[in-house]
Assembly symmetry: C2
Homo-oligomer: 271 residues x 2
């Protein structure tokens, strides 16, 4: 019988999903910096028999721009391996014949080039930062309140994140604002939405128990993956905090110092 705990479960794994910011690199000035050992760890995974995908809630750049940055940091990574909320949203919009009013970061707009945005019948918000002006939020609100059945998509539901100049409000805060204004519940696209994880599994052609998620966000990465039936391992880099190891509702299957350590443990189990 296969071991179900960490790292024993690695024996029967067929795929690994990696969070990006806080696992591969730390954001900051310019491109940010690769986390020690992560470039090499990705190389080792690619050389193994495991499938590999990257899964991020990044909504401040198109995947092309974002992947180019990771490549400059030394990572062997391509656009087709990266899952982020905007392309997932585009798929949903097309599937449901919805035309979005967009309130997103300027750099994300190219992801929506192929979508009809005339006469909008839904609203999509991302981490728009400075674009979250009173006027822009009011405009999104007026679109929603004018619809018979208002539909709001939120690319993630984070509260805040850290940048070099301090904490910044994330998209979830504005999602809550519009939910209250219009008395509705937003549809979240991105981690920890099960639909989002499922789309990564489908792309690999794997069942949940055959895949492992590695992330620095206990609730969105680890908890979200576990909720889908995957194993979830947390790294002590990025937004990890010691209190995560005593979290009231989410317990990681394993906690490791960094991605390099996680990958070595996985590959050791398989030899």
């Amino acid at each position: 019988m296969a071991a179900t705990g960490w790292p024993g479960c690695a024996k029967s794994l067929k795929g690994v999903i990696l969070d990006m910011c806080g696992v591969l690199y730390d954001s900051g000035e310019g491109d940010g910096v690769a986390i020690h050992g992560s470039v090499e760890a990705v190389k080792k995974l690619k050389a193994s028999d495991l499938q590999l995908r990257f899964c991020t809630n990044e909504t401040q750049a198109s995947r092309e721009t974002f992947v180019a940055k990771l490549q400059r940091l030394g990572f062997d990574i391509s656009v087709s391996e990266v899952f982020s909320p905007a392309p997932a949203a585009v798929a949903v919009l097309k599937d449901r014949c919805l035309r979005p009013h967009l309130l997103v970061y300027d750099g994300l707009l190219p992801e929506f080039d192929s979508v009809d945005k005339t006469n909008p019948n839904c609203v999509v918000i991302g981490d728009a930062t400075e674009n979250f002006s009173y006027q822009n939020l009011n405009e999104a609100f007026r679109v929603l309140i004018g619809l018979e059945k208002p539909v709001l998509f939120s690319l993630g539901q984070g509260r805040y994140y850290k940048e070099t100049d301090g904490l910044k409000l994330d998209v979830g805060v504005y999602m809550k604002a519009l939910e209250y204004a219009c008395d509705l519940k937003a549809e979240v696209i991105g981690k920890p939405s099960p639909t989002f994880f499922q789309s990564v599994l489908s792309d690999m052609g794997l069942q949940p128990h055959e895949a492992l998620m590695i992330g620095d966000d206990l609730v969105n990465d680890v908890g979200g993956a576990q909720h889908c039936g995957m194993k979830g391992v947390q790294v002590r880099t990025g937004k990890y905090r010691p209190s995560d190891e005593k979290h009231p509702t989410v317990t990681a299957d394993g906690t490791v110092d960094n991605l390099a350590q996680a990958v070595d443990m996985i590959l050791n189990q398989r030899h």
Copy 2:
């Protein structure tokens, strides 16, 4: 035994509290316009043996500026008769030795002149409109998240209101945003907070059953007053909508066409 229904209850009344916007006047270009019959109705109340106070959630101007506008519209009204959230907030801040970081409309700032704002240990938000920029909301967030016990005061909790150029997001929307960002519950100052209505009753020296609230907002005016033990009558002016008369949780003690009709009915009962 005294009649308890409307308008019979008017026989035993000792005081009346009037909402302002939508009852006395409609906002719009410049000062807006007095609602037909309201100037005369206020005169009649003042000539009666009833006490009279005005109770508003207005937070876009100091009471001085606001009352001067009402006087220009023809109303016999003075600052000491008007209860609005900002002065109530100032009283709470002083009582609890709190120093606010303010995110309010520029015109409201004079209300807080007497308050120490150095090294803030709480945040006060009002209907700040354009001042609700990403940067300003982030600044308020950083103050809160940096406090050991974050305290957020919201001057009202409205979702939105109507101006001549369309619907505008109200303070409650940003209250929800900061509540989610900081995982806290704001303290609402203004209608429908019981503390706020109680301060008006205290000023008149009356018990709740001796006072009647007249407003156009079913939930905040009528429901709020009823929650405190007062009677609540709704006028069919301002933000009144026919669906209010079939509201699932709030039923007005009476519904009248406008303030003039309400006042005539009250005074007729007393002669």
